[in-house]
Amino acid sequence: MFLVVASSTEPSWLWYATRGLGAATLIVLTCTVVLGIVTATRWMGRATPGFVAADLHRNLSLLALLLLTAHIATTVLDPFAHISVRDVLIPVGASYRPIWLGLGVVASEIMVAVIVTSLLRDRVGPRLWRIVHWAAYGSWPIAVVHGLGTGSDARAPWLIGVVTACVSAVILALLSRIGEGQRSTLPIRAGAAVVATLFVVIGGQWAINGPFQANWSARAGTPVLKTVKSVAHVGPGGFSDPLVGVMVRDASGNVAISMRDTIDTALTITVRSPNPNIETLPVVSIARGTKVLCTVPATAGTTLYAVCGKTRLTITLYGTATAVKSGGNITGRLDTTGPLA
């Protein structure tokens, strides 16, 4: 049974904004970390003063903080996932994907601590400043894992591309920095190489078996939210309701769509590809709760026509061009000429 996120309306622009801002924060944070790693290597060339690289690193970190603030603000303001102010301050106990959200809280708190101690470096002293700054090395992988675990776009090519680019950039920066140094720093450099390798190996395995899987949304703890109102269309007359659901594409190209009526929330609609040896048309199945109302063939395409008992159904799927390629969340509309009971 697919768990579907639903609310009284479709996701608002804030939900999309926070996902985009999260990715942007990760990109700028990655740049900050990479610049921090290579500051000592005069990567800007002999002709440019070294302090320019140091200042760039610092300014990018402030930009990352700005984007982080916007990302957190849009998350809290968005009604879709019901993430509250408490949830972004305390890394446990949120209702929406608690572990992965909690990691984001941890990463952002480390980032804030780094920036605050840097602004107050006179008071803080070199030792404490350096310890907190080293924690920044930890905040970045936590942010990556948070992004893959919490975000709804884990399987989207653009996000996979962004994450791959960010991880590669940091690995390359680490390699160039680890390779050079005095003998006395060899243990710490070797340690960094080991940790980085472990992160890539373990993180990669987790990503492949976790967020990149179709059922990650459920495993990550996406809650089923109650709608504001649920109207059961059992009386005469047709209706037209928005649908929300997921599309899953398996290795051989077969598609299975599972959607829920956002108004009459007991209604679920599934569509599956025809069985190649037996059928030629996709099959639609409508259920109210656990009771299957009908299972009938439908016309193929982004708009499906089917007849269930005496009621004609039109199922329109939105944005299927993207969904067909990547799988994941989709929306649609169900129009009927009569009740479904």
Partner: protein, 74 residues
């Protein structure tokens, strides 16, 4: 007239990045090994003090200190 300051380096923290010498060459030059030779006499010029503050903020090792100093005798 603002308080005179003096710029000091903690040589045990310093790793020879050299950003300080780029920012405030009025007070810092680099030796043969890239480490700063710091003029620690009292500074009263506000412009130089400003540059010194920037150098203190930019040092990746927090090795520079700007302390209060007795004003230079005329």
């Amino acid at each position: 007239m603002s308080q005179a300051r003096k710029l000091l380096v903690n040589p045990t923290q310093c790793d020879g990045y050299g950003f300080c010498a780029e920012i405030v060459p009025e007070l810092i030059t680099l030796d043969d090994w890239g480490f700063p030779i710091v003029d620690s006499r009292p500074i009263s010029d506000d412009g130089v003090i400003g540059l010194a503050k920037r150098a203190v903020a930019t040092c990746p090792r927090l090795a520079l200190l700007l302390e209060e100093a007795e004003p230079k005798q005329a």
